[in-house]
Every structure is written in C-alpha cells, then in structure tokens.
Amino acid sequence: MKFLLIMNVNPAVLDALTEEERNEIGEGHGAFIDTIKKSGEMITTQALADPSQTAVVRVRGGQPVVTDGPFVEAKEYLGGFYLIDCESKERAIELAALIPDAKIEGLGVEVRPVMFSDGTLEA
C-alpha cells in the first residue's frame, strides 16, 4: 500500500528552533531515508522551498492570473513529503513516527493513503 507522509511546516515553529535542534532534524531525516531505502519502502521524497516562493495560478475567463504567495493564508504549509510503499496503515504510522518532525511541538506528520499513481517512479 502506498502512503504519502506529509510534512506540514509552520514557519514560526521552525524559526524558533535552536541550531542544535535543526541539526537533529537534518540528521534524523538522513537516518530515516537510510532506513526506508534499506527496507525497500521508499519510493521518493521531496522537500519544498519556502511558501514565500510559491505562485498561485488561476485561469479566469480563459486567461491565467498569477499571484505570488501561498494559496491560502495559513499557519501550516506543505513543507515536503515522503512517498512510501509499505505493508499496512499501521506500518505507515510506525514509519511516520520515525520522522524527526513528528517529535517537534507544534508540528506533526500526516499519513494519507494514495489512490492513483501514474508517470515514471524513477526519481
């Protein structure tokens, strides 16, 4: 079963982290990637640039209208994700708990089943 482990980030929470905590997160992700690659559960992972770098495109009257900044004003934004293929929802939750973000107060990791896939998976 495929799951998307969604890391929603809150820029205010991230800004308040100490250097040491930041390093721990970086190393934690490295270790997590290593774990799920070895177990054959990793499909791909992507980390996204800061929400301020985003643009929203709307087509109105056949014309694209582009606005800078995120889609909605919110506290949390999509920061990145892991796409995994594992045995069960229980295993997906177990893996999500290994992601360093899950341990940070104010953050969490969302686990959502995948319903349809297409395109090449070789990243």
Partner: protein
C-alpha cells in the same frame, strides 16, 4: 530487450531449478540467487539471437556458476577464504555443469521464499524473483514501485532469511501444514495483486495473476493430493475466468450480477470446477476449497437470477465456522438477502458494526448500501454508497460507488 514467449517460459521454468542446483552445491542462497538472476538476464539477451543451446539448463548452471565465482572473487573481504574453495569446485569452473540429477527443488525454494520471518510483501516479491524467474524491474512494474524500492525489498528479504538461519530443505512433516499455508497465502496475494488491476494501463499486472496461477500449478504437481492446493488453484482459475467481463474498456467495475456471462472463459470454468469437485470429494475441507466452491456455484449460473443462493449461503456458513472472519460474514449477508430478503441481510450486517476488524470498513458501507437499495430505502442507500466511496483507496471502486449513489438521485422519487 524483448524475449519471445517460448524463451521466456523456458527461462521461468528453469530459473528455480538452476537456483536449486546452485544452492545445494554452494549454500549461500543470497549470492546464488543474484547469480541466477544475472544468468537468466544474459540468456534473455543471447538466446533469441544465437538460438537456445542444446542443454539450456546446463548453459544456465554454467553461466550462473561463473557469475557466482566472479562475485566471490570480487568480494575482497572474503577473497582469500572463498576463492580457494571455489577453485577446488569443478562445477564453479564450469566443467560438467550439466552432469547433475534432474531433481526439482522448486518447492523447497518456494518454502524458503515464503519464510514466516518475512512480511507478506517480501515473500511475494522474493517468490516472483527466485521461483518465478521474473526480473526485479518486472516485479517493480507489477507492484507499481521503482526498481530501487523493489531491489531494496528483495535484498532485505534475503538477508532476513539468512538471519533466520533457515536451511535449504523441506520443512519437517509436523511444520508442513503451517508452512504450506504461508506459501498458499503468498500465492493468493500475488494473484490478487494482478487480478485487482483492471484498466488498460495495468495490463502488465495481469501477467502477475497468470504467474500466480503458473506457480500454483507447479505446487500442485508436487503435492497432487493436497485439497487446499487444489482449492487455491481452482479459486484462481474460476476468478480469472471472469477477467474479460469484470470491467468496462474504460476500467469501470462491473458487479457480478451485471456481468455479460457469455464473456466468461468456459475453459477456465471447466478446469476449475472439475478441480474443486474432485478435491471436495477426496480431501479434508479447507477455506480455499470453500471459496472455490462458491466461485464454481456462481460460474454454473447462466444468468445472475439463476444463481443457487441457498448453496452459496450454506458454503459461506461453513466457511464462517471453519475460518471465522468478518469479511465472510459480510459476503454471507449478501447471500442471505437473496434468499430471505434484504432486511434479513441488513440485520446480519448490524452484527458486524461492533467488530473492530470491520468497523468503518468501506465494504461494510458498500454492502449495506446495496441491501438498503434493494429494500427500497433510497436516501439511506445513497448515504451509505457515499460513505463507502470516501472510504475506498481504489479509484475504480470509488467511481463505481459514486455512480451508484448518483443513480439514486438527490430528489425524492415522484
């Protein structure tokens, strides 16, 4: 690289035999398995151009043995110790490679790949590679994951087998029934993985269902008297007979009652029915036999309304007794509704609401919706179809459930 079907079939048949020979000689399942995979890939490239060698099995044993020795030699850490052993082994030098008894270790391999220490997902992947002779890339495509993911999974599986200290022998007689049930479950999962796929872009996966059937036939050749092996094979054949009728060309699911039964494969039905009839008459009853008997009962009905629902209900009732499972009860509710009316089916469904294994499962909502629709309660049926549509992780099923909900309309009937 595209190998013709005859070569492909031959390679898949020979791959586990060659692996068996290598493991018997050298142990080291993990290394031997890699070597055989490389030899099979080499054969797939060379044979179509150069012709199939006079002794294809010997060719593969020689090629795999050479690769094994290369692998051992390139492994610097163990070089001194193992290259010496290898040099002393005539088989590893490629001499007299075909001079081996034609024993078939395929079943032993299957038990090894379906080791209870592995997760079902690892068992199925390793079985397809080591016993089925499929490449990692083919297995990855079938399971819709990148090749690197599948390679990691297979490699981890082989390490786990090694760590579990398993031997290349048949399980002891007292362990055999339990180990066999793990093997059959893995084959069943492989079949389902391929069968669930329905739309055009998923044709690759239909091959996996066929591969599961081929492997189960192979197990049956080795264990012809086992009722559950026969039952599983019959179940696969009878289920597969409906392949052409079970979805529209666009990939939309067609429920059993609405399928065009002229498109069911008569040959598969005849074979599956004969198999299950013989097994039921001569073997100890088991869950696969009962499921096959249910599939055979559906298969013998020329039209949905001719279905012998009393027999289906009885078979589910026995299945519920010997292998209790909420999904079985769910299916029995459908049969009960056919013989005693939708309200009786709905009452049986209510007993599942408290079951933690079933609570909130989309199939419970889907069946309830279906029975409510039959009972004439359109608003409640619609609500349950929508609940079920939200709960499923299959796009085809979601489309089907949403269309059922939409068919019931939003307004009250006039």
């Amino acid at each position: 690289m595209r190998t013709d079907h005859a070569t492909e079939d031959l390679l898949r048949e020979l791959a586990p035999q060659v692996l068996g020979v290598l493991v018997r000689r050298h142990g080291q399942f993990e290394e031997c398995e890699d070597a055989v995979q490389e030899a099979v890939l080499a054969a797939a490239v060379h044979w179509p151009d150069e012709g199939v060698p006079a002794s294809p099995r010997g060719w593969l044993i020689t090629a795999a043995s050479r690769r094994l020795i290369d692998q051992i030699r390139s492994d610097n850490a163990r070089r001194a110790r193992e290259a010496t052993t290898a040099d002393q082994s005539p088989e590893l030098r490629g001499d007299h490679a075909d001079d081996v008894p034609a024993t078939d270790d395929t079943l032993v391999l299957l038990f090894l790949c379906c080791h209870p220490a592995l997760t079902p997902a690892s068992q199925t992947a390793l079985t397809l590679r080591a016993v089925g002779g499929l490449t990692t890339a083919e297995i990855a495509r079938a399971f819709l994951v990148p090749e690197a993911t599948m390679a990691g999974r297979i490699s981890r599986a082989k390490q786990s087998i090694k760590a579990a200290g398993s031997q290349f022998t048949m399980p002891a007689p007292d362990e055999l029934p339990e180990r066999l049930s793990v093997v059959l479950h893995a084959l069943y999962l492989i079949f389902n993985e391929g069968y669930i796929a329905s739309s055009g872009s998923d044709l690759q996966r239909a091959d996996v269902a066929r591969e599961a059937i081929r492997l189960t036939r192979m197990v049956r050749r080795q264990l012809p008297d086992d009722g559950e092996v026969a039952g599983l094979l019959a179940l696969m054949l009878l289920t597969d007979s409906r392949r052409a009728a079970r979805a529209t060309p666009g990939g939309d699911l067609i429920p059993l009652a609405e399928q065009d039964r002229t498109r069911w494969d008569r040959e598969l039905i005849a074979e599956g029915t004969a198999l299950i009839s013989a097994a039921l008459a001569s073997s100890q009853l088991g869950p696969y036999q009962l499921q096959a008997a249910i599939a055979a009962t559906h298969a013998e009905a020329g039209a949905a309304e001719d279905t012998d629902w009393r027999q289906v209900h009885l078979l589910y009732k026995i299945l519920e007794r010997i292998a209790p499972n909420p999904v079985v009860t769910l299916n029995r509710a459908v049969a009960l509704a056919e013989i005693s009316g939708p309200r009786a089916g709905l009452e049986l469904l209510d007993t599942l609401d408290g079951d933690a294994r079933m609570g909130g499962h989309h199939r419970l909502h889907a069946v309830r919706a279906h029975l409510l629709e039959a009972a004439g309660d359109r608003p409640a049926a619609r609500e349950n179809y929508k609940l079920a549509a939200r709960g499923t992780a299959s796009l085809a099923e979601q489309r089907y459930l949403e269309s059922r909900a939409a068919r019931l309309g939003t307004a009250e009937p006039p």
